[in-house]
Symmetry: C2
């Protein structure tokens, strides 16, 4: 099936077409660069609708359960939902629902939900990686909201925030998560905070701790004070409040012009990352090439110096 | 003083001119890119004479003492010697003789020896870094042999081997260095092995262990079997044998054509690294540029996709 037919199918809500397109863009090896480019170009006119929500937090706070509960709440509002679960530690990829992601199976028969797991081999690959392209597929497929969840900790959490319009930061009582979040630099990137497992001891003190830390921290955007929502994701309690907070944040982004600023900045960074990636590839292609050998010989014989040779190499690319 | 005068001064053996040229090329910030390029171009016709000897080994094997002893032995043969001591952990730079490098002060009044310490902020910076440029200065200044020594362990050791014509691997008895060397991948890159502190217990068994490991390991060049030399660098014992082994290796490299092959490969990698470095810089320059903003806007509005925009960006560089 050609790319245009796949895109047409995805826009009509065909889950198989969506899955096939994501497979085409997430090909890690990028051997099939032509397909990737073709898909990206075909998607372009149909993107920009979806609101991308990043879900971050330390392991054990209930990210997976919260994501599933959010899907339920969003579906109750008849919103089309995409879920991209990125597991930097998993060697598996391609739509498999793994381990504690089992709760997601509630949604697998719902034609208004696309769920995709994606391995990322130790890192998300940044903006030149597969995740941004997969988001474009889900966007073009008509998702109103796309939830991006990472398994694991650290840098990938911050990377996910870089892909999102709204970033949810989840914490849980009694885990010292507030402190952990501050360490990971997550406080600065959170647009909405969620204290999950709010039926446990210490939920209120976690909330207070968070509130203090947020008020002390410097924020890039003074006009938005991140709300703190209390949830028990496993029972669905408070999850509608999270959906409402995300909606408020989206409205704030739109009226303040910040949505456009964020997306422009993100598109710029993505173009830069892809350009650098492409240049590195071209440089790799030149290895063993006669041109490079000639330049190296010029340097060796003293006819040229490495900087001049590098300039000549760049001009020849 | 202009660059041409500095190069002329360096070629006449003026230590100050050599020092000034190295300072110009090791400017980490690369703000003074023009000076760096000018120096590199002015040096080009005068390079290719020096034999570069990398000195690697775990901390405690006596690298600094061995380097100093090698300088003495090479000076006894009336060879001009350069020493580049790279300390990836040191915040200091620029010719200071630090800590256990004190022995080097024996040579500081000798006009036939240039000694330079160089900090590298955690890594050597590879072939686009300052070390390769500093080597070119010492080469053009008429050094017959340049000794490159790293302080510390790990990747930088392998990086140094990438700069050298001949790589010395130092071990000492009773440190399990043979095993350590194998782990670090240093066995494969050693052209001459030195068992230093050979007056200590276990020197012969270290030698046997090394011999076995070398014979088992795969070598890129079958025609050269690395000799193992026993030394007591602190007394100078055996150091002349090291000089002889290096000289034999150089002759082997020349007659086999391997010297030219190695240097061509190194020049190629250096050109590639500098080209990539330059492209990254240009990409950085474009940040905030109107061109990139226009491209990002095209992607946002769906008129273009990130890959096409990246191609356009590359073409505009």
């Amino acid at each position: 099936m050609d790319v245009d037919s796949l895109v047409a199918g995805a826009r009509k809500g065909e889950a198989r077409a969506v899955a096939r397109l994501i497979s085409l863009v997430e090909d890690d090896s990028r051997k099939n660069d032509t397909a990737l480019r073709e898909v990206s170009a075909a998607l372009a006119p149909h993107t920009g609708h979806a609101h991308v929500v990043g879900i971050t937090g330390s392991p054990g706070v209930g990210k997976s359960t919260s994501t599933s509960a959010l899907v339920t709440a969003l579906r109750a509002q008849d919103q089309r939902v995409g879920v991209l679960a990125v597991d930097p530690s998993s060697p598996f990829s391609g739509g498999a629902l793994l381990g504690d992601r089992i709760r997601m199976q509630d949604h697998t028969t719902d034609s208004g939900v696309y769920i995709r797991s994606m391995a990322s081999r130790g890192h998300l690959g940044g903006l030149a990686g597969a995740a941004p392209q997969a988001l474009r597929v889900l966007d073009a497929a008509g998702c109103d909201v796309i939830l991006v969840e990472t398994v694991g900790v650290g840098q990938s959490e911050v990377e996910v925030a870089g892909l999102a319009d709204t970033t949810l930061v989840l914490v849980a009582p009694g885990m010292g998560d507030g402190i952990q979040a501050a360490k990971a630099g997550i406080l600065e990137i959170g647009d909405v905070f969620v204290v999950n497992k709010a039926d446990r001891d210490g939920a209120q003190s976690t909330r207070r701790e968070l509130r203090t830390m947020i008020s002390m921290g410097e924020r890039s955007e003074a006009a938005w004070t991140p709300p703190i929502v209390m949830t028990v994701a496993s029972s669905g309690e408070g999850v509608e409040d999270v959906v409402a907070a995300v909606q408020q944040h989206r409205e704030h982004l739109e009226t303040s012009g910040e949505l456009r600023r964020r997306r422009l900045a993100r598109a710029s960074r993505e173009i830069e990352a892809l350009a650098l990636d492409a240049l590195q590839r071209r440089m790799g292609d030149v290895r063993g090439d006669a041109r490079l050998e000639t330049l190296a010989d010029d340097v060796l014989s003293g006819r040229s110096d490495p900087f001049t040779a590098a300039d000549t190499l760049i001009d020849s690319l």
